[in-house]
Amino acid sequence: METVTLTIDGRPVTVEKGRTVLQAAIEAGISVPYYCYHPGISIDGSCRVCIVKIEKMPKLQTSCSTVCTEGMVVSTRDAETVAARAGVFEFLLVNHPLDCPVCDKGGECPLQDFSYTFGPADSRMDFPRRTFDGEGVKADVDFGPTLMLNRNRCILCTRCVRFMKEIDTDAQIGVVDRGCGSEIATFQEHGVHSLLSGNLMDVCPVGAITTRDYRFKSRPWDNPTVVDTTCTLCSKGCSTSAWLKAKPEWAKGSQLIRMTPRFNPDVNGYWMCDIGRFNYHWIESETRLRRPMIRTAAGLEKVGWHDAEPRLRDKIQEAAAADPDAVRFIVSAHAATEELFVLKQMVQGLLGADGLKSVSMAWTRSEKPQPPNAKFKIPAANAPNVNGARDLGFMVGQGNDGPAPDLAELKAAVEAGRVKAVYVLDPGPDGSIGDLSWLVEARRTGKLSLLAVQGVVMTPHAAAADVVLPGYAFVEKDALFTNDQGQVQSASLAIVAPAEAREDCLILAGLARALGLDIAYQTSDEVRRALGGAMPGTAYAGAGTVVFTRPVPAASWLQASNPSERWKWDFMFQDLPPVKGHNVQLEGLAREGAGPNYIPLRQVDK
């Protein structure tokens, strides 16, 4: 790597050739404010706050657009720079409404933080501030189905414009008009219609673009902890952070309040899609399965595990007595590798080496409407672990690239009466396992004698089942998923599962024990160690030593989420008050756990 060495504030800094002064300062931990620069999109130089003094240059330079050269002498702290920078901040705040108390960004807003640090103490603006509530066009408007736009807060950094142009490649946002009348707008106020729209909230350095999903729901000081995890809503497996909002002290506990992307150059870069970002409500919804249920004359009745397990065992043994092949499994590819591993041990223990034939994997597939050249592509396969199932030997057809499996063979066998019992493992959101209405119909007409469903939400097939076992959703368990590139990734426990729900791999282990097998796992860690031992020399060999992250203070999250946005952990979340009683169940785990040092499995593997 060719490098250049320059001096910033008297410190020698060596960086890769071609880096800009701002990037060098960020890498060296020297605080230079910026708005229009974002490491994921092109350089613009429009906000002007990153100005620095460079010796032998006639004027102050924008550090974001000045490339480092050998021997350059840069100053970010001399009187001239400080005064000029304060002047720029005064201009940025001339028309900014300063409605921080009601702004979603307040508390995690670079405009706030940098203005306090670098800006003047007060404003000389005596006149009314500009508002965009003109004729026909309003300031605070809907900005498409997922976002809200407040033009008054905008500082015209054009990050959103460049994101749409360069990453989404459908430039739906433009700067309309000019001079002091410039405003961010979409054509004819149509708003942003894109599956990547949520990222605009992330790139916006002020509260101009906010998501409708998070609007007015929480403040940064209400969600002081985050958990680094992995999204499991498609085969891409983006690195994400789950934000936990502390409930009031009297209520204890915490709730999942938003999902944001976490920087991972190998998978998702700085971005994530709207599906992963906004489709989390099912996890803590009213339709969650909270207790085991068995069917009685009065319908589904809530029972304890000690009632449900024997009932399930008896029914399975009854169906298997005449023909072992009469018991079949339908397994969603939302199941984690641990669950698939225990399931594999169970069916092979019951049916011998070719026991995997009794398992049909199921997932759905949908082409996502995106511009053809989009830099961030959302895969068509809507399941996180098709490759994990493939690696364990389950039949997945052509995997992520092929069509979603149709269960025609199983369906025919059920209709013909050859299959008497079906066990469905469905730990994903409603509909993620595909259309099982034929199964519900078969149970209704009596062709099936047993329909057992292990899942997380009350799906139509759960409602028709004889036995319903409540499992964990992906943010409620430590689990491994193998994405479409074959990377084995860890999704960490962030929130506590409701009521009597049990970890899915342990439900399966319990069932296996009930059926007389010697499968004695008590925790998912044991499952992972067994998995690692069973598959030496593969990407799973290190499964037993994977470090799962625990809830960490938001400041630590910031370091991991975007290594280039160093200002965030220099400035933000410095003085958050401790929130008593938040997340009490997990605080103990956080102390025992490995802390914020997130080690992806593939690094352990090396």
Partner: protein, 196 residues
Amino acid sequence: MEYAPAKFHKSARKLAPAGETFTYSPENQRRFDEIVTRYPPDQRKSAILYALYLAQNQNGGHLTAAAMDHVAEQIRCTSAEVEDVVSYYTMFFTKPVGKYVLNVCRTLSCALLGAERVTEELCAKLGIKPGETDASGTFTLLEVECLGACDRAPVVMVNDDWHERLSPEQAGKFIDDIRAGGAAAFTGCHLHKEKK
């Protein structure tokens, strides 16, 4: 001078009218296809100003959303990018304008020689304020910055043509002349004449 926040501190933007379905006439399509060949294929967007002028002239002097959509299609960019350009430049209009758009220069040289009074006279004659179109839809009056003809101040640009040394006293007669004789009333640019 009274500070006027209502004027300067409100968004002046109005959405362009949706307009009827718009496609280039065969003649304009031919001209556009010829213009596009002047730019490298990967810089097709460079033809956007010309494309917009063709659309604006075909549409009777102003652009509609439908026209912008069509230009976006021709240029192969998004409608938002077209609107970006349209809203930036002062000579693209997104509401109907008169047959003659009077652009009175108000920058220094013209101002010293009475451009403000020219504007006042024109306003009085037409019964409108700057930025408005008269009742008959013939004239639109605008104040613009330097037109680059300071040696012949005060200068008025009418559509694509020039009228030099328009004194306040002649302003009323100038309107009558246009009404009577159309483009023949303009002096044109003296440099052009001298060249010939």
